[in-house]
Subunit: 268 residues, 2 copies
Amino acid sequence: APSIINRAFSKEQFWDGRAASLEEQAKGPLTNPVEMGMPSHDAVVKKISAIKGYREWFKRVFGNDVNIDDLAKAIATFERTVVSGGSRMDRFTFGDKSALTEAEKRGFELFEGKARCVQCHNGFNFTDEQYHNIGVGWDTGKVDLGRYTVTKRREHIGAFKTPSLREITTTDPYMHNGSIETLEEVIEFYNRGGVGNPFLDIEMKRPSASLEEMLDALDKIEGLVKLESNEGATLNLTRRDKADLLAFLKALDGKGWKKIEEPESFPK
Amino acid sequence: APSIINRAFSKEQFWDGRAASLEEQAKGPLTNPVEMGMPSHDAVVKKISAIKGYREWFKRVFGNDVNIDDLAKAIATFERTVVSGGSRMDRFTFGDKSALTEAEKRGFELFEGKARCVQCHNGFNFTDEQYHNIGVGWDTGKVDLGRYTVTKRREHIGAFKTPSLREITTTDPYMHNGSIETLEEVIEFYNRGGVGNPFLDIEMKRPSASLEEMLDALDKIEGLVKLESNEGATLNLTRRDKADLLAFLKALDGKGWKKIEEPESFPK
């Protein structure tokens, strides 16, 4: 599942963006068979209602009995408190040039340049909140359709929402399906250009694509421009590049969200 | 897994046709983790070699010790004996007009006409041995790439080999992923036009597509012509149509292959 960190700053939720709010998103995992697996929302309400403490809180906060909409509101409201900021990168951005080490600064240059990370991971939250196909799963014979399931648009086949990179060291495993365990492997994945497929995002290649190639690709498909394979999409990062990039990614970890701790007790 | 019935009459094996012979195919299931799950072909050879009776048979038949190629030859040779023929439909085809009941004859007409089955299930073995996308899985968010994994051709995304319909009553569950339990449900699946997706085969619609639609579709993609959705692909079969079609399908069961019985004993 996508991390909830800084999701307060985004409208579309889930990897495929099928929920328009955190309230809508919060209802999903309750009955998802691979998450909480409850048979229905009614069953969830019944279970929570059986706990006196929760009944009382719902009365005090919402003025009524436990119900699924208020329950989702409560979860979404909590989620909005899970924020990340105050990272060394933030301090660097706001003018403290000593906040990053030399290796981290080189990593930041790679992030914005040769490694092209910033093509999608841009803005204060290191995400464009858009959907991109980077080829995860196309070498396995089984593919998640991703954003296509919502839009039914051909160019969204296998495209998933760009995640924020904040607190990236603590949100493993990576990729929409959790198929990559470490950040080192993620960097290798991008270094070899992702996995080629007919919907591979042009963002994986743009800097080296000629104008002719771009126009040719535009001719083929309306909407986003996609590449048939990952040929030419490799990044040619050196060993030091990879180490610098990793160092930079670690400088995106902040402190705010870490204050969130499990309550000592729950309503009974 | 696809049925082995009458596979002697086909070159490309597996649902995606990735094996060029039954010998090549026979090596697959041994180490497939969801089939026999052996760690390697060496481990298979070692296991079979440990049985004296097999060692003797390999010496007598192949003139050498157990090895993976001869083992595959033996399995493939057995598979070629699993044939189906002599069905009532065969007798009908060869002139015995009383071999089918009236309902079955109506079913045959539907098969070749309104229900369009014959668009892909044609020839003596009721298969064109080609690859088609009928949309299985496109309503679940997860898709098997099928023939695409072999050819890397866009128009083969989600396309699987047309299976023979001989002995169809005994080869359930149906579809490449076994997602449909009964023939009744298979007929319903086709009746609603499969599941729409950008690669849905034009064979799902051809009879009702206008020349203009066909040319338009041809403009869009080189190679096979595909449809964006399953709109207009529904068959409008009546309740009697469905019953007749089912009756016909059952008349494809033969007798030849049923003589194959498990041996009373195996080499020891």
